[in-house]
Symmetry: C2
Subunit: 414 residues, 2 copies
Amino acid sequence: MGTIIEDARDGWIPHHLIAAAEREGLDPEALIQNIANGSAIVMAGEKRAVGIGRGFSAKVNVNIGTSTVRSDLATEVAKAAVAERYGADTLTDLSMGGDIREIRAAILSETELPLTTVPIYQAVVDCGGIDCLDADMIIDTLRRQAAEGVSSFVLHMTDKKTLEALRRSQRVLGVVSKGGSMTAGYMLHTGCKNPFLEYFDEVMEIARKHEIVISLGNTMRGGSIVDGGDAAAAVERKQNIDIADCCHEHGVQVIVEGCGGHVRIDRIPLCVRLYKDAAPYPLFVAGPLATDRAVGHDEIAGAIGASVAVSAGADYLCAITPAEHIGLPTEEEVRQGLIAFKIAAHIGDTVRFGSDEADATLSSCRAELDWKGQIEAAIDPDGLSARVPDAGPCSMCGDYCAIKIMREYLSRSD
Amino acid sequence: MGTIIEDARDGWIPHHLIAAAEREGLDPEALIQNIANGSAIVMAGEKRAVGIGRGFSAKVNVNIGTSTVRSDLATEVAKAAVAERYGADTLTDLSMGGDIREIRAAILSETELPLTTVPIYQAVVDCGGIDCLDADMIIDTLRRQAAEGVSSFVLHMTDKKTLEALRRSQRVLGVVSKGGSMTAGYMLHTGCKNPFLEYFDEVMEIARKHEIVISLGNTMRGGSIVDGGDAAAAVERKQNIDIADCCHEHGVQVIVEGCGGHVRIDRIPLCVRLYKDAAPYPLFVAGPLATDRAVGHDEIAGAIGASVAVSAGADYLCAITPAEHIGLPTEEEVRQGLIAFKIAAHIGDTVRFGSDEADATLSSCRAELDWKGQIEAAIDPDGLSARVPDAGPCSMCGDYCAIKIMREYLSRSD
């Protein structure tokens, strides 16, 4: 049996993927072509298929999961439910504390969203630390997670060349990718090759069997705007594109993480274009945060960077919450981060698609003081419906609504 | 006695303005030159002078004030205090409800920030509606407000040409500037000229006497991203630049409002450059909101647009709160809007000044898990200090801090 890519190369794709395209008004023939050439992927969970990449609106992922110091299953399931309710497209479970399998199973049973993991997290926990990791154990974790219903794996392809470039760099914050640092830690401790490269054929076999989307991790993203976009990042970009080509040739859907972390706002478009001009695969961006100084409000710094990134061509965003750099987010912080990133994704899409229609719809309702219509057209209808007046102008303008005044006096003088 | 501009033309400025420059590490000689050529202004209240424009960091204004349907003096004073505490540079009192003079006096006595008004608001209230306005009354309002300690007036210079351009436009939302619609309403109702143009000499005399900064209003800003940047906006931009030239020639400090309202993200840089390439005067931007669909979260849509606007050269931002388009903001919403815009101003300044130093300072502290240093370097130290751990890594990474892991394994393998 072929994979989705192989089906697409043969000119067809399964019906549920066609539905994902039609939901967004995308021509199924175009989707088949985009999947075949790697510029779009469909991440399919048991219950929902989400299209990412060329032709699709920008998508937003929400990270949830426990840590070694804070771990409660019910809290993480509640975050997953909030993310789904407020319009997340995908979830990533980063749990490292508690019963990781049980948490993942609960999330999969409680939501419809496709679920991503960073398998080395669980491998580190299961074997009791980075120093105890072995490659068999890591690959076995992929195999088990795939069988349990995970839709996508983040794998960090760090190799000796990227680590050498990192050693030569003058970074303030070094590496801020947890999965990347664990993968590199294993390599440095054992002297072994990157486990996902050493056992690449096994990884491909697992991905093909379970139609897992491979997400190539961004170990060399900058943790500070002064660190982003250095030689280490450039070496990793080239490396990830080469590996993405291999995944695609193996009939495995692939996305590449890049331009994430912290990037100065004026450097974001170049960073995105350097990738997009070199590779067809969807670009997955964490943030980027356009300043290091917004700590406590990083959903805003992230939404600013993400708007610019999507405008320049990024396809898929990882939402940042106000708790970033401080601690695990609460349910409410997950909601805040998600909404900020949904705003960013939409702003970027107005540029990617050159379309203002959805905005014009809302504004037409605003012109008529049609609050119900505004709620329907808003990015966060729930939040808005709790706030708006029943009818008439808002309490800011009261009797002096500019729109009404101007219309009245212009018509009087006609 | 000369005005600040006339002093600057003579090669000096008063001592308290020098202090405003030195606070930001700006060479006083450069400030004198920038004031003389109009590219910078200093807005001076009784207690504080704030520099805006070339050489200065981007500044953030906070709007407060009652409306005809919601009016409480204590609430507005509390908003002013919150704005000052969280780092607003200037305040604008837009009160139209309650005892406007008393509210303004209370704000002036409770905060140190320079205060701006839109005098036609009070004129409309004092004479009982737009239809009862007369030009003497409007100009007299300027005179009285100036004597009471206001530092800057927003005046809408709408004339027949801009109104003609508006009539020919196909806007979804027409005019969304309250002061602009009142000024136009008066003109259309009476058939008189724009009152600030008809009595321009009196306006200049008042401004000179009290060193009022004239802020030329942006009546033709778009209320929707599909409305922004049309012919009406272009006619107004040209008109405002011509009038700014006249103010400057009269020795009156002037700033121009433009590119505000709702503007699609990819059009913001062009909008800013069209103005900045044509005129030296500081550009004051309300928002701009990069989407109409973020209603309920417009501080985020506004911060996104504002970051791009400041990066392109805007000098001064008017913060947008989450209550925009819904109602008068609460104290907490004022704080949220302000912080979002302080983040935007800083992000833009990293581009305007090509400097990452403040960000690198925070990130150096982050690398050392120095929370106290991070708080000091953060844009919102208060908010951050309430959230951070006493010491050690945050609860997100717990035992698996990427920075620590990577350092440890790199050093082990040295």
